[in-house]
Amino acid sequence: MNKIKHYFRGGIVKRKVKFKISFYFIFFYFLLIQIVFAETPEIKPWLNLDKLNNLLGVIILTLCITWFIYHAKRGKELYVRRIAGLSAVDEAVGRATEMGKPVLYITGLADIDDIQTLTSLSILGYIAQKTAEYETSLLVPCCRSIVMSTAQEVVKESHLKAARPDTYRRDNIYYLSDDQFGFVAGVDGIMLREKPAANFYFGKFYAESLILAETGHSTGAIQIAGTAESTQLPFFVAACDYTLLGEELYAASAYLSKNPLEVGSLKGQDVGKFIFLLAIILGCILVTFKYDWIINLFKT
């Protein structure tokens, strides 16, 4: 209680932070109001039994992941295989530093509600720290304004972590266009004018992937890409030096941070995958011998 009083007197936090915290209080206040006064005209069941199998799958996977997180927390060392694309990140930033050219980072086309974008922002944090340490310019053109705003915060924090807040340039992280090809045209222009020595493409990409990667290739930049979009992987593989395939993108944060909790979750994920694999094999065998009941177990 004293702490709250202290807070409202303005003792422990700066004005800007206070504003942010007040914003969060307003968030919870409105949430509470909306829940209390929400209209629920229809009588609905507590549990949707049609989604029970789905829920069971999520619980199994969650248990696997939390189990390994728990063990990682207790200090158990877990092995993660080498991911070439991520190991080459330092090399790419180093090359840009040697050449005195900027690094270009693209967070993909999706908005902040997409997990690929969030993963991409985590990788951006690591790369921004490296560029801050090497005093190399980092350009982050964004396709979504909320992503831009978040990216600015991430890069700023990375510069603080690298003890180089003076080198942070807010203007280097900017919004271009929500339109897919308008964005591509803008990024291609940056590539041709600024000639970045290293291009990173991490996140959700669509048809623009090849246009970006080919233009980047024509400027002679070292290129590293990562996406979970299966249709764009062939384009990145053809035009980039390194590509993170599908789930490797999600593993990137754990791989780069070496945080035992994150590595633990990777291990849990693998066990979950193994369980699903067993279910697929079992399903194939049973359905081949006309035991179709297993299909119904997985129907939603």
């Binding site: 086309l109 999706a110 090809f181 048809a207 979009e229 299966s230 249709t231």
Partner: protein, 274 residues
């Protein structure tokens, strides 16, 4: 010499591609089109829908992919109008609103369809997947109070029959990315069990096959090829069928280029060995 050929200026390749596309467009070869099963599935399903039923059509593409997707939309609207099915149009992409307006304007005149009674265009709805989820829960009347021209939907007779997704016999989406076909599969097909079919760009067609195999997607038109197949089925040859000649020659050229680059690769390898 081999090195020169290997590192050929890419602008030369660009010129070849340009000519491979241009010449067949100016001088068509009229190659025959064969209909694939995923496209046939959509046609057959639409043919079986009883007259007067309502179809939801989502125009989730922009001008960049218009050339690939628009012929699909034209063919499907044509078939629905011909079969006296009623259409409610919606767009999850802002640019889709204008494109859908063009499609409806063109074909409503041809088939003498009346706006508000035979078809309605709700225009752009922001928010993507969360909006689709809300449409299923709250319904169209609350989330779409006005149509594309800001006319209250209370004044449109067709909209009086629309409540939630269960008002539709089929959901068709013409999708060039996100939000699009996958979102409709996740929401309308998986949660509300309404049949979903649609078309997408050729580049993303391969991604849709798992959904076709699982039955979550009723049928699929992949790129200009899929559109040309549908034009053939509907019996209204258009831009897609015309474009297939150009696409054929361009594909052939790329194959020849790959053979050529592999020849250089193997010759170089043999030279190194000797």
């Amino acid at each position: 010499m081999l090195n020169k050929l290997k590192n050929i200026d890419r602008r030369i390749i660009f010129i070849f591609i340009f000519l491979a596309v241009l010449i067949p467009l100016l001088k068509p070869i009229n190659l025959p089109t064969q209909v694939s099963q995923p496209v046939q599935n959509i046609y057959d399903f639409v043919e079986k829908i009883p007259e007067g039923k309502i179809v939801l059509m989502s125009f989730d593409y922009g001008p960049s992919t218009k050339i690939e997707i628009n012929p699909m939309a034209l063919s499907l609207v044509r078939q629905c109008f011909r079969r006296n099915l009623r259409i409610v149009g919606i767009c999850l992409w802002p640019e889709g609103a204008n494109l859908s307006r063009e499609v409806f304007n063109l074909l409503s005149k041809e088939y003498h369809k009346e706006y508000g009674k035979d078809y309605v265009n709700l225009g752009f709805k922001a928010g993507g997947e969360p909006t689709l989820v809300s449409l299923g829960k709250v319904g169209f009347k609350e989330l779409c109070p006005q149509d594309i021209d800001n006319k209250p939907i209370k004044e449109l007779p067709l909209m009086q029959e629309i409540n939630k997704y269960d008002s539709f016999a089929l959901v068709l989406t013409f999708s060039a990315g996100v939000p699009g076909i996958k979102e409709y599969i996740r929401v309308t097909a998986s949660q509300y069990k309404i049949p979903v079919a649609g078309g997408c760009t050729a580049v993303s067609a391969s991604e849709m096959y798992p959904f076709l195999a699982s039955g979550q997607l009723l049928g699929l038109m992949g790129g200009l090829k899929g559109a040309s197949e549908y034009e053939k089925l509907v019996g209204a040859p258009g831009d897609a069928i015309k474009g297939m000649d150009a696409q054929s020659v361009a594909h052939l050229l790329i194959v020849l280029l790959i053979i050529f680059t592999n020849l250089i690769y193997f010759l170089e390898k043999a030279k190194k060995k000797t």
